[in-house]
Symmetry: C2
Subunit: 224 residues, 2 copies
């Protein structure tokens, strides 16, 4: 509807987190219009009231239109809204974050993948939005299976531990990590599939895949 009163702009912004060469990174796209034309920023777009059923639909549409990607895990992060965050006027941005196993940079379409630590200052309040997404991912990863959405189809338990460590930013004890994973049961061995260690020596490692219930909360934090 068109309101008789001035209403805020309503947008959705996406924080796409991935592991790029094992480093927690975020996907940014080059803006093709003002403000901040030509600068790298979070992919985002306006709510289209004729087209979008709800906010999650807006998020999926913006993801598709701006990146061509589909995210198996998309969570509403937080809503940023105020007078000064966008020069076009009072604006609301409902931020979502997504986890993707690996996103390649795509310079032709203006997509860059940057490490989240040491990110340059981004347009609008996008730096703050990225910070909050990383904090949410780290917080939830300490007591849930959330990092599995960063895993490829097949992986070893050492791969999984390494992804947890990279997300949490700290080493984990191998024994307690394996006990926790066993106990929680969100991954399952793939019968008959193993991977030889690099160099070809040593015992082949069992390959795993995600179980039916992949997102699980633990009763306590998984910390070193």
């Amino acid at each position: 509807m068109k309101s008789d009163y001035p209403t805020p702009l309503a947008t959705v912004d996406l924080v796409l987190l991935t592991l790029r060469d094992g480093v927690l990174s975020v996907a940014l796209v080059r803006r093709d219009r003002p403000p901040f034309e030509g600068r790298l920023a979070l992919p985002g777009g306006f709510v289209h009231v004729e087209e979008d059923e709800d906010l999650a639909a807006t998020a999926r549409r913006v993801l598709r239109e701006k990146t061509g990607l589909v995210a198996p895990y998309l969570e509403q992060l937080y809503t940023f809204g105020g007078r000064n965050r966008d020069e076009r006027g009072w604006s609301i941005s409902v931020a979502y974050f997504a986890l993707l196993p690996d996103i390649a940079p795509d310079p032709e379409n203006g997509r860059a993948i940057l490490e989240v630590d040491g990110l340059p200052h981004l347009p609008f309040d996008h730096s703050r939005i990225v910070e909050q997404a990383v904090a949410r991912l780290r917080g939830k990863s300490s007591y849930s299976s959330l990092p599995v959405y960063l895993m490829p189809e097949r992986f070893t338990l050492d791969d999984l531990q390494s992804v947890y460590e990279r997300v949490l930013g700290q080493p984990l004890d191998r024994g307690s990590f394996r006990r926790q994973i066993d106990f929680q049961g969100f991954v399952e061995p793939v019968p008959g599939e193993f991977r030889r260690p690099e160099g070809g020596r040593g015992r082949p490692a069992q390959l795993y895949r995600l179980g039916a219930k992949r997102l699980k909360e633990f009763g306590r934090r998984m910390l070193a």
Copy 2:
């Protein structure tokens, strides 16, 4: 600004949670205009772009205007948005939840306090918003000091345990509860202040107040 494109309505809704006679309850106000005129619903209002600095300011203004209350703890809960949640058009509601030690019903101003368990169906998607606020409160209370915002100025440790139990909906072990509280240190004894047990017999109980750092996350869940 006035947009050239149709933009969603932008509102803030408030879930005010309190303990009323020891039972987790929510404050509702009678709507004074359509839709759902005369029905009890969450206090809410439109973002006023001329007046409100940001969404938190909208939340505080709506709280003041609709209830006359000030909330020491106000947290953004989740944002609900879509085509079908309000007959007036595509609408976004940024929901906040607040904790208050005790809110009295105020029938003259249309305010009722209802228990969250067994709440009647509320207008719009307000039932779902209340459910989500209660889930957030319960989730966070299991590993943080959040319930302290439901405490009066002075309380005994048994009072505090009882509030935790009512919020979590389950009994806690007295010994481990006290060890956890001691360890976390978010409350402090008030020197020289005690309360006699009802009936006047038995040892007076030490009174406590909130410490300087009242909101603390624990490393593990506080469960029975």
